[in-house]
Symmetry: C2
């Protein structure tokens, strides 16, 4: 069983810290008594405030209907400790298994949305649908993050980044290039 994390609130305009580096995330959803988890790698931060995140959720995913109907989800940030669960979640269908049970993950209620978070993840971002104008054409959802919580340690979680064909890049060392200019001019 993977460890769980106690989490603290994160200012909503600061969630880019977790998502901008491009990690694979686990998207949890719920609708009419059903719940599911999917892996997702096609996402981007879109705005600091309101805190917007855009992502592609292919209509072929079992989660698509739960997410489209509920207009809510939780984006959870897994680390290398969950890599095998990430692969398992990405290669099974919620139409056949309950992924929380199958992969030993703990659902956790989140204020403001019906979808459960995953306690074993480093961070969680509760999302409400902000704009669905590109869903029909590109399966592209724009979410407003309405609540964000993250573990205090480790400061830099060892996230996993998918490159396709079964190969993941793991987050490596951290380097700082703090400069007044860089802080003032964001996003670059």
């Amino acid at each position: 069983m993977a460890r769980t994390y106690q989490k603290l609130d994160v200012p909503l305009e600061k969630i880019r810290r977790y998502l901008e580096p491009g990690p694979i995330v686990l998207v949890s959803s719920a609708w009419k008594g059903e719940r599911n988890i999917m892996t997702m790698g096609w996402h981007t931060v879109m705005e600091f405030s309101p805190s917007l995140v855009g992502c592609v959720i292919a209509a072929s995913n079992h989660s698509f209907d739960l997410i489209r109907q509920s207009r809510e989800c939780v984006i959870n940030l897994p680390t290398t400790a969950l890599l095998d669960a990430v692969v398992g979640i990405g290669t099974t269908s919620g139409s056949e298994v309950d992924k929380f049970e199958r992969f030993g993950l703990t659902p956790e209620a989140v204020d403001g949305v019906g979808a459960p978070a995953i306690r074993e993840c480093h961070a969680q971002f509760a999302c409400r649908l902000h704009d669905d104008s590109l869903v029909d054409k590109y399966n592209f959802f724009i979410w407003e993050v309405i609540a964000a919580r993250a573990a205090r340690v480790p400061k830099h979680p060892e996230t996993v980044h998918y490159t396709g064909e079964g190969v993941f890049m793991v987050a490596g060392k951290v380097v700082s290039r703090r400069s007044k200019g860089l802080l003032a001019k964001e996003p670059g």
Copy 2:
């Protein structure tokens, strides 16, 4: 002076390998005799074929007009060898300096688009504007990648991933979890 890379063609439906992990990229553009480079961290793959990439380019960037008018750009993939250039490009304005000259970067003509690629980058993706319906509202551009080239080695480039506040995560080790299921079901 950073080293340059000889590059080979990449099948367009395979560019996710470089962009899905979420690296900072350098976007080069040109319009009416002017050229520029900007850093960009808010991007996502959106489709395999046609090869689509969505990204946020804030209207406050000097590059915005060059890109909006020309409806083209090149997305270049820098590695840690270019980190100081990346920071410099992100903290200066193309209205004041020629960033190719200032940061010792070599422009390279690309078939099919007017914007120059950056020879010192590991990979380059020539883009034509595919959909600008979300530009006014979110500064969100959807590009079709019409040509892609990448260095053959190293196989896994040491990309840099921005977390905000002057801190970058560098691409770490690579782990494989090849499985039939994972290969068949993409994107997750």
